[in-house]
């Protein structure tokens, strides 16, 4: 016999179809380049100048013999790899950013996360406003049911524009009370709702600037170049690395791409350069078998990012 005390006449409605969440109206919130003139112009480009220079150099290189049919030498000793998921897709073409005190690189933040059980983790975040840094949901709320690790993390150290041991904009410790995510993530580890934020008590973003963000249709996004910069754990500690790729596929709540990533880059902004401005369209979160993926900035995500921006 049920003892449910919920009013049986409480009205309910089906959840909206995922496709409804993109909507028909394209929404954008503009970027800001920060306090001084240390910024790189991208007028007429769809990827960062550092990548444009590299792409040009690569195209000028002598072509190596096609070895795509050969097996990796490691397989001779260890046999073929069985796991199908890898975060670096093909050759690793990530570019290290050393001028991290200039825009846009200074909007990307190295995160040092202290979980509820005292374990420490690394991730990435990005300013979307003067006092708000966006990241993955799993950087602020960890699912480990039945353990002390489960739940909101204790705190996050936010280090904008970090370059190894150098912290050009210092660091800000964000306590648990200033973390944000959404019910879709905190109630279960659902990849489609994996995003969150850290609200700062000081307007550090006025110094660093921030990325714009956009809810764009499939038609607008397909064919765009995606850019990502973050703090991967497989590179020297605290160094920032940039990569770019096309859109592999889209769903209403996810964006898939072949951007190279590694553990530590969760939370990075996946952004498009449009008319000289940088607009995040996804929040990086997962490594996948043939592509990596992030939470798409659809209409509800856009609205929350705007809410957290304040």
């Amino acid at each position: 016999m049920s003892h449910d005390t919920t009013n049986p006449h409480e009205p309910v409605a089906p959840e909206p179809e995922p496709t409804d969440e993109v909507g028909t109206e394209e929404l954008t919130e503009d970027p800001q380049t920060g306090d001084n003139a240390q910024k790189q112009s991208v007028e007429g480009l769809d990827l960062e100048p550092v990548a444009a220079a590299m792409a040009e150099a690569l195209s000028a290189e002598e072509t190596a013999p096609d070895t795509s049919g050969l097996r990796p030498i490691g397989e001779a000793t260890y046999g073929p790899p069985d796991p199908s998921t890898e975060s670096v897709q093909g050759p690793d073409n990530r570019v290290q950013i050393t001028g991290t005190s200039s825009y846009p690189w200074r909007v990307h933040c190295s995160l040092l996360i202290t979980a509820n059980d005292g374990s420490r983790w690394i991730g990435t975040g990005w300013f979307n406003g003067p006092k708000s840094v966006i990241t993955a949901g799993h950087c602020v709320f960890i699912h480990a049911p039945g353990t002390q690790r489960h739940g909101w993390v204790r705190s996050v150290e936010v280090m904008p524009g970090r370059n190894g041991a150098s912290l050009p904009y210092g660091k800000v410790v964000v306590p648990r009370a200033q973390l944000r995510s959404v019910h879709g993530w905190t109630s279960s580890p659902n990849h489609e709702y994996d995003y969150g934020a850290m609200l700062l008590s000081e307007p550090k973003g006025n110094e660093t600037g921030w990325l714009g963000f956009a809810n764009w249709s499939d038609a607008t996004l397909n064919g765009k170049t995606l850019n990502l910069s973050g703090y991967p754990g497989d590179k020297p500690s605290g160094t920032q690395w940039y990569h770019w790729s096309g859109v592999a596929s889209l769903s209403a709540r996810k964006v898939y791409y072949t951007l190279d990533t590694a553990g530590g880059q969760s939370g990075s902004g996946v952004y498009v350069i449009e008319n000289g401005g940088r607009y995040a369209v996804a929040i990086h979160a997962y490594g996948g078998s043939s592509s990596n993926s992030g939470t798409r900035i659809n209409k509800p995500v856009f609205d929350n990012l705007k809410l957290w921006k304040g």
């Binding site: 069985d82 799993h138 754990g233 553990g263 990596n292």
Partner: protein, 83 residues
């Protein structure tokens, strides 16, 4: 989360390595792109979303290492850092 990987990060001489960046590098399903720092004794544990074979990698500024783990398995994974 349906499985757990426990491990320890060691240097070439067999000493525990604290603060190594440990992450799932490959697995049967997409995995979160975060990295855990090994504790003061070089130890770590990570929950994984489903049974299967995973590659766990550890990186420190003086070396890297990785190993393949089957979940569920048991025992403690030893990752030895090398150049």
């Amino acid at each position: 989360m349906t499985g757990r990987i426990r491990g320890i990060v060691l240097d070439a001489s067999g000493s525990p390595v604290p603060d190594a960046r440990v992450a799932l590098e490959a697995g049967p399903v997409p995995v979160p792109d975060v990295a855990l720092l090994s504790d003061g004794d070089g130890q770590f544990w990570l929950d994984v979303p489903q049974p299967g074979e995973y590659v766990v990698a550890a990186h420190a500024d003086d070396g890297s290492g990785r190993c393949t783990v089957t979940v569920p398995g048991g025992g403690v994974v030893r990752i030895v850092l090398g150049r």
